[in-house]
Symmetry: C2
DNA sequence: CTGAAAGCGCTTACAG
DNA sequence: CTGAAAGCGCTTACAG
């Protein structure tokens, strides 16, 4: 494979132009497919390139074309509180589409100062555009990207109409799931969620209320507790929930659900006999629980793919094909039987 | 902030050279700190740059210096089977050190053809070096990188002395943990592990045997089952383990441990009364279990940091400071009480 | 249809 | 101590 390499290095446009007795511009045109060129010489050049294993220097191309073919991917850096599998899947989706389109993915995972980091990348011209995952409400990142006119797409909800975004249809999904519970006879639910500066918390809550309203179920009968993170408020919240005889605990994500399940188990409350439990987000934590937990399931990889495709379309100035939002399923398990 | 920008664009070396009435080479020297320059003019130039917000074009620098300041990070793409938190932590560590040193991290997460992907990156000169996570035994990636003489470091075990690597000291950790069990009276263990083409499986097993040998515990009394992945062999393995009256089940990772716990629970076998359970790898799955599970805990972020630092040292041609391997702890919980 | 030239924004010997 | 020049490897008007 490297036999020819050792004889003559063929790693610049000049090398191969000299060898073929043509101008390097001609070679460039053959590769890019731009400009006029007889099919004959193009074929000859392409054949030679293929055979000698030449690869254009991406850095030089970047400089000449003022494009890097790099995408910056901003990962939120909140340890533990978020679903690891979600990020991995999403990342997989992004990388896949990027790779298919000749782009590479540059990670931005700066705990302290994400804005400064992405700013440096932009100002140094190391990336062409940005994908931001799970943005917070009014994220300063969005403001920065808009001001600098950097092409970007957001994975997660936005109210900003100028911003390209993809998101799970959390509101509809949570509405459907809640409606499903109501149709099964649930009347007095406790909704438990995390940080209320997280956009997704809001969407899910809206879906929850949508279903209650549609079913004519009084909002006053339902209980809502937000900002329940790691261990802080859980005990007091659960005491209230049980004292007020909720018939179903609706968890906004699997991490909260896991805490709830442990609390119930140690308190001797039996699921689903004494109280039903569901989660708006599914992960391995719930799948393996006993009893297994009814939950919504979203397709994170599809989300990543959609985000990346939208960004690349936008980078190319293409119309921005609209994608159907990746779907969701309600997975019925033992915790609501 | 962008007030001056709008008046005069100061985004190339030429712009600022013209403005200051000096040569662009002089400006370049002021920034890089290389070459001779009077402290005075250097200060003047630096002050101006600071004030007008100029940032060098990293692409042009790359071309001129033949360095990209990008690191390729290869993530294994085996969904589900691996610990998500491990990757996230490790990634965090890598990104942190990279960022501190002016490097950026380019993801390689190509399910189908990782070697081709990294090859393209190298041949296109988009990266200076590579970090490979949790490589498989005899990975073709390693062969490729060695052949191409690309600087790289491996996160995980290698027997290859020419290769720079960082790893948890799995063998010692597993030996210590096993020794600890033996000192608590365990005599007949069942070791259950995953794919035996995974290096880590071997290290952990070695540590296990080390402790048995040192304690004079006959290897014949112990049981070992490898290649127990998702659901395939678990049931038959557990039947054998229980039939042969193991007093402790040693799981090679938390995923296996989780499956084991579920099996035990549904079989009515009580932990730790009927059998003790430990895991060689800790994650949220085990921490929240009831009973909580005794386990080894490794510091993945430290591993990522060490790997990245070693790579950067090697890129700089520096001596390659040796790092102490990131530590581990034995976390005693209820499953061995 | 092909070639010669200028340019992308930097760095680095080499003169002066 | 500073400057003028060549070069990194490509692309893209512009001539011929």
């Amino acid at each position: 494979m490297s036999a020819e390499h050792t004889e003559k290095k063929m790693d610049t446009l000049n090398d191969i132009a000299r060898e073929l007795g043509v101008n390097k511009a001609t070679v460039s045109k053959a590769i890019s497919g731009k400009g006029n060129l007889s099919a004959q010489t193009r074929a000859r050049i392409l054949a030679f390139i293929d055979q000698c294993g030449y690869r254009p220097n991406a850095v030089a191309q970047s400089l000449a074309k003022n494009q890097t073919y790099n995408i910056g991917l901003m990962m939120p850096d909140e340890a533990g509180a978020l679903d690891e599998a979600f990020f991995r899947e999403c990342l997989r989706g992004v990388c896949k589409i990027a790779s298919n389109n000749g782009y590479d993915v540059l990670m931005v995972m700066d705990s302290e100062r994400p804005v400064e980091h992405v700013a440096r990348l932009i100002e140094n011209r190391k990336i062409d555009g940005v994908i931001a995952m799970r943005s917070l409400v009014n994220s300063p990142v969005v403001g920065f990207l808009k001001e600098k006119q950097v092409p970007f797409v957001i994975i997660g909800p936005t109210s900003d109409k100028e911003v390209i975004s993809v998101d799970n249809d959390n509101r509809s999904a949570c509405r459907d799931m809640t409606a499903c519970l109501i149709s099964q006879g649930v009347r007095r639910m406790a909704l438990i969620g995390g940080h209320d500066n997280n956009c997704v918390t809001h969407s899910r809550m809206k879906g929850f209320w949508d279903a209650c309203d549609q079913a004519g179920l009084s909002r006053n009968w339902q209980m809502v507790y937000l900002n329940v993170t790691r261990d802080n408020r859980l005990t007091e919240v659960m005491d209230a929930v049980l004292a007020q005889k909720a018939d179903c605990i609706v968890c906004m994500d699997d991490y909260i659900c896991n805490m709830v399940l442990i609390h119930l188990r140690t308190s001797g409350v039996e699921v689903p006999r004494d109280v039903k439990v569901v989660s708006f987000y599914d992960s391995i934590l719930l799948e393996n629980n006993i009893p297994s937990v009814t939950s919504l399931h979203f397709d994170a990889a599809a989300l990543g793919r959609a985000a990346c495709q939208k960004l690349i379309d936008s980078l190319r100035g293409e119309p921005g094909n609209d994608f159907a939002l990746p779907g969701y399923q309600i997975i019925q398990r033992d915790s609501t039987k």
